[in-house]
């Protein structure tokens, strides 16, 4: 029986820039940050109030990612540079306040927060190839969330 998701991978253009965005700007917490002899860096971070979900940043374009052939790397490059990967939904208790705060910190959004049937939502870019829905769910809208 599977009961939880413990780790998810986020493919990023640059691990350090991802670290800066998720840890320094968003306030995610670092669980693990180790580097192997060949330079492969394993970083996992967790959302501030979700310590048992670890998100790891994988940089498929890095030279030490030997597991990917050139064709695969090129596919990653195209998707990440286009920002074509929608990575998920970030929960916020107040979308408009978080929008104002992150905008003041220079984070990119696709427009201002909008009311949707499932809550108040703004589309946020992590600057390293992924976008998220940042949503303040309406009470009891969880089952209808996209």
């Amino acid at each position: 029986m599977i009961t939880k998701v413990s780790h998810v991978s986020l493919f990023v253009l640059d691990q350090q820039k991802a670290y800066d965005f998720y840890v320094t700007t968003l306030g995610f917490k670092v669980n693990t940050d180790v580097t192997m002899d060949n330079g492969f860096r394993w970083i996992t971070v967790s959302p501030p109030e979700q310590p048992d979900l670890e998100i790891t940043f994988l940089a498929p374009l890095a030279a030490n990612m030997m597991g990917y052939d050139d064709e695969t790397r090129n596919a990653f490059r195209i998707l990440l540079e286009k920002g074509a990967l929608g990575a998920g939904v970030l929960h916020t208790p107040d979308c408009r306040a978080t929008y104002e705060e992150l905008k003041a910190k220079g984070v990119q959004f696709k427009g201002e927060p909008k009311e949707q049937f499932y809550g108040i939502e703004a589309i946020i870019s992590d600057g390293v190839g992924n976008w998220f829905s940042m949503t303040q769910p309406t009470p009891q809208a969880g089952a209808q969330h996209p």
């Binding site: 030997m66 990917y68 408009r96």
Partner: protein, 137 residues
């Protein structure tokens, strides 16, 4: 009742001020005045937006910074206590344990052990499937 956009900005600016100056003595009356709100309204709106009172938010911010510095900086627990804005090591220890679950020195020891292990045995922290997929193909 919805909060007006300009009021949102004032509360967010006050929160960012607290983020940058948490290590100093923060006068919530002054922050309220600078936000052009009464202390009562500032407290009510801040708590509504952040789901914590300004005081609770500030305490958590200080404890979180202490947690990071205990793991990363070569300062004594007392120095970290003072540097993050607590006036008493006793209240710091109690609040740290309440928020983090461990006493500051115990947390530091565990973080140090983990860091040492990460330096000497990084593979122990990486699920094998990731090594196989990312490095070996």
């Amino acid at each position: 009742m919805p909060i007006a956009p300009d009021v949102y900005k004032k509360i967010v600016m006050a929160k960012l001020y607290m983020d940058e100056n948490f290590h100093e003595s923060i006068d919530l009356d002054r922050i309220s005045r600078e936000a052009c709100l009464s202390r009562y309204h500032f407290h009510r709106l801040f708590t509504r937006i952040y789901q914590r009172t300004p005081h609770q938010y500030l305490t958590r911010k200080r404890v979180e910074q202490a947690r990071q510095w205990l793991a990363d900086k070569d300062l004594t627990v007392s120095e970290i206590c003072n540097n993050v804005g607590f006036e008493s090591i006793g209240s710091f220890s109690v609040l740290f344990k309440k928020e983090i679950g461990y006493a500051p020195q115990y947390y530091r020891n565990q973080a140090w052990l983990k860091k040492q292990q990460g330096l000497t045995q990084p593979r122990k922290f990486i699920p094998h499937c990731f090594i196989e997929t990312c490095l070996n193909g």
